[in-house]
């Protein structure tokens, strides 16, 4: 059953990658005509004569000699969009004197009324005569619809002088693959392949070595200490949502900790800040008591939801720490600024504290105030160690392989950088460009 589970989606994903690139090819085959600028604009000669007049309603001063208007407007489809943007360029007025800015108007081709024109863009006279239409949420561009454009030169007195109407010969259309995301796709594909390779290896029963992590052994010790002292154990599963990977790692460890606690007959307190995390934590603890053979000693009030506001939650947990005086505190999961408040209060109450988070900014505070801290990835690794499942171990191996790849890429970049220095070449820029992803999509 489980083998099928893995197989189907894996095959799906791998099928998807080539099919996407095929889709991309087909897009490219279609586009050449789209990108050649000059062919796609027609001049609406009939309209020109009328539109050259200033718009009705504007007060036209007799003395005003009129302004030069802009020339041809060209419209292109914008690549990598959902068919909701067009690239519009126009020839600015030959004589720019007296022009403050250009007002760009658009209407759906075939509509006759003057009211159908919408002003979609104002371009100051000194800026390049090009813009991407479709950003204005009030006047969206719809895929497959042909539009007409006209541009008015605006004088310093805010009088508009209209140029000709141009109809776009192409309509906006959506693409099937985002060409700027190729690198991301390759990296993702590589990662998935590696992880599945190690899943497969783990399932075949290959023995895999993993080095010990100090914090894990400390967990059992800490539970033992609380039992000896007859005091409860506090477990904070972070303050993030269930979609946060750190929370998931924390819940796995909670299952294991709760099982040990059930065996020792100690009390556990799990306050939660996210309602969904609360339900999952409750299930995990209940299941742990069941597995330990002591479902009767499970106290339904031990796992509870507190509140969803960060510092109100901290106030609550602080109160619990000072009143119930737990002997051991676990802070595993995602934490923000409250990390230090929790850990200092805990240390004030004299508890042994074990922390683990992937929040880089909060790690220094846990390191300085807790007895053991799982740094970043160690938290995930700990949950994999405790899960005792071959595939979990395989995943850790896969991650290590990825780190090895990253390290060799950085080393290669270092070598290329030195080469550039010595031989005066530009290999590093080229190499770095291979992994560069754009910030704005």
């Amino acid at each position: 059953m489980r083998i099928n589970w893995i197989g189907i989606p894996a095959a799906l994903i791998f099928l998807m990658i080539p099919s996407l690139s095929v889709a991309q090819d087909s897009v490219e085959n279609l586009t050449p005509t789209d990108t050649s600028v000059s062919e796609m604009v027609t001049e609406d000669a009939a309209a020109e004569e009328i539109e050259a007049q200033p718009a009705a309603g504007e007060l036209l001063l007799e003395a005003d000699p009129g302004l030069d208007t802009s020339g041809m407007i060209t419209v292109q489809d914008k690549p990598n969009d959902a068919g909701d943007q067009l690239v519009v360029t126009f020839e600015p007025a030959v004589n720019p004197e007296g022009i403050q800015c250009y007002n760009v108007y658009r209407r759906i081709a075939g509509e006759e009324s003057e009211d159908a024109w919408n002003r979609v863009k104002v371009i100051p006279a000194d800026e390049p005569p090009e813009f991407i239409d479709g950003y204005d949420p009030e006047y969206p561009i719809k895929p497959g619809i042909f539009y007409e454009y006209r541009i008015a030169s605006v004088s310093l007195e805010n009088v508009e002088y209209f140029g000709s109407v141009y109809g776009a010969e192409i309509a906006a259309k959506g693409e099937l693959f985002h060409t700027n995301k190729v690198r991301l796709l390759i990296a993702g594909g590589l990662f998935i392949t590696l992880i599945f390779y190690y899943f497969w290896k783990a399932q075949r029963g290959t023995k895999m070595y993993l080095r010990p992590i100090a914090g894990i052994e400390a967990i059992d010790e800490a539970i033992g200490r609380a039992t000896e002292m007859g005091k409860p154990i506090l477990y904070v599963p972070g303050i993030s949502t269930i979609s946060d990977v750190a929370t998931i790692a924390s819940l796995t460890i909670l299952g294991r900790v709760a099982k040990r606690i059930a065996e020792y007959q100690t009390r556990i307190i799990v306050p939660n800040m996210d309602p969904i995390v609360y339900t999952v934590a409750e299930e995990a603890v209940k299941q742990a008591y069941l597995e330990a053979g002591r479902p009767d000693s499970y106290d339904p009030d031990s796992v509870f939801f507190l509140t969803q506001s960060q510092f109100a939650y901290v106030a609550g947990v602080n109160g619990i720490m000072m009143r119930d005086r737990p002997a051991t505190n676990f802070y595993l999961g995602m934490f923000y600024a409250e990390s230090l408040i929790l850990a200092e209060t805990g240390s004030l109450s004299g508890a042994i504290q074990i922390a683990g988070t992937d929040a880089v900014t909060q790690l220094p505070f846990f390191i300085t105030t807790c007895d053991y801290t799982l740094i970043g990835e160690e938290l995930y690794a700990a949950s994999a160690y405790l899960g005792h499942e071959p595939k979990q171990i395989g995943a850790v191996k896969g991650q290590d392989a990825c780190k090895a790849i990253v390290m060799s890429l950085i080393t290669l970049a270092l070598v290329l950088g030195i080469l550039d220095l010595v031989a005066n070449t530009h290999t590093l820029d080229w190499f770095r460009n291979l992994v560069t992803v754009s910030i704005v999509e």
């Binding site: 995301k181 991301l184 990296a187 993702g188 990662f191 895999m208 070595y209 993993l210 080095r211 949502t241 269930i242 979609s243 990977v245 969904i276 339900t279 999952v280 507190l306 509140t307 969803q308 506001s309 510092f311 109100a312 939650y313 106030a315 609550g316 602080n318 109160g319 000072m322 009143r323 880089v360 900014t361 790690l363 220094p364 390191i367 300085t368 740094i375 970043g376 160690e378 690794a381 850790v396 191996k397 991650q399 290590d400 780190k403 990253v406 390290m407 890429l409 950085i410 080393t411 970049a413 270092l414 950088g417 030195i418 550039d420 220095l421 590093l428 770095r432 992994v435 560069t436 992803v437």
Partner: protein, 209 residues
């Protein structure tokens, strides 16, 4: 009048929280329990006003968004948790949130945590006009990143020249970074206290303006 009472109440609860620094006490306990209740109540109102009403009920009653019944029903499945025999139904909405969240996270994590970091780690050691401390900084940065990555290697024991020394340098770099972050954060935290002191001495007691 309203504002004056508000400031006094606020000042009272501010001092109630600070009293915790001395000792856990009934006044803190009151503040703690109140803020838990109020904040959750506030969240309920907020969620109703910003999600349930405008995104679900209003479109539904407007009559043209019947499709929204699906997420509505999916959300209602959470309530089955209160009925043990069908509590497993509450896994459906959790699965929905979980699966889509993981799927959205994958490419974004790949981009933000891997590719962008990788790109940023590929810096030239020296470019003309760079002062010595920047060159030295770049060397420290590249080798520091490599060493710290070795520390996070789980497949090999931290022994030998490469893994042993590497991971040792790695943890040094990590500690240097943690110390710096700690020192850097102090200022922001003191600022928070300054804010409260301004509230107490200014808004409440009018000693400072």
């Amino acid at each position: 009048m309203y504002d004056t009472i508000g400031i006094w109440v606020g000042a009272f609860f501010t001092l109630a929280i600070y009293s915790f620094l001395y000792k856990e006490n009934p006044v803190y306990r009151l503040a703690e329990h109140l803020v838990v209740g109020i904040s959750l109540g506030y969240t309920m109102v907020l969620i109703y006003n910003t999600v349930i009403l405008p995104k679900l009920l209003e479109p539904l009653f407007a009559g043209n968004h019947w499709i929204l019944i699906i997420p509505g029903l999916l959300g209602l499945l959470y309530i089955t948790r209160f009925i043990p025999s069908i509590a497993w139904l509450s896994r459906y909405p959790i699965a929905f949130i979980m699966g889509t969240g993981m799927g959205i996270g994958f490419p974004l994590t790949m981009k933000a945590y891997v590719l962008r970091q990788l790109e940023a780690a590929m810096v030239p050691l020296y470019e003309s006009g760079m002062p010595w401390y920047e060159v030295f900084g770049n060397i420290v940065m590249i080798f520091g990143t490599l060493a710290a990555l070795i520390y996070f290697f789980f497949s090999k024991p931290h022994k030998g020249l490469f893994f042993g020394t590497g991971s040792k340098i790695g943890i040094w770099v990590i500690m240097l970074g943690f110390g710096a972050t700690f020192g850097f954060t102090v200022m922001g935290r003191i600022s928070l206290l300054i804010g409260r002191i301004q509230y107490l001495l200014g808004d409440w007691l009018h000693i400072i303006e």
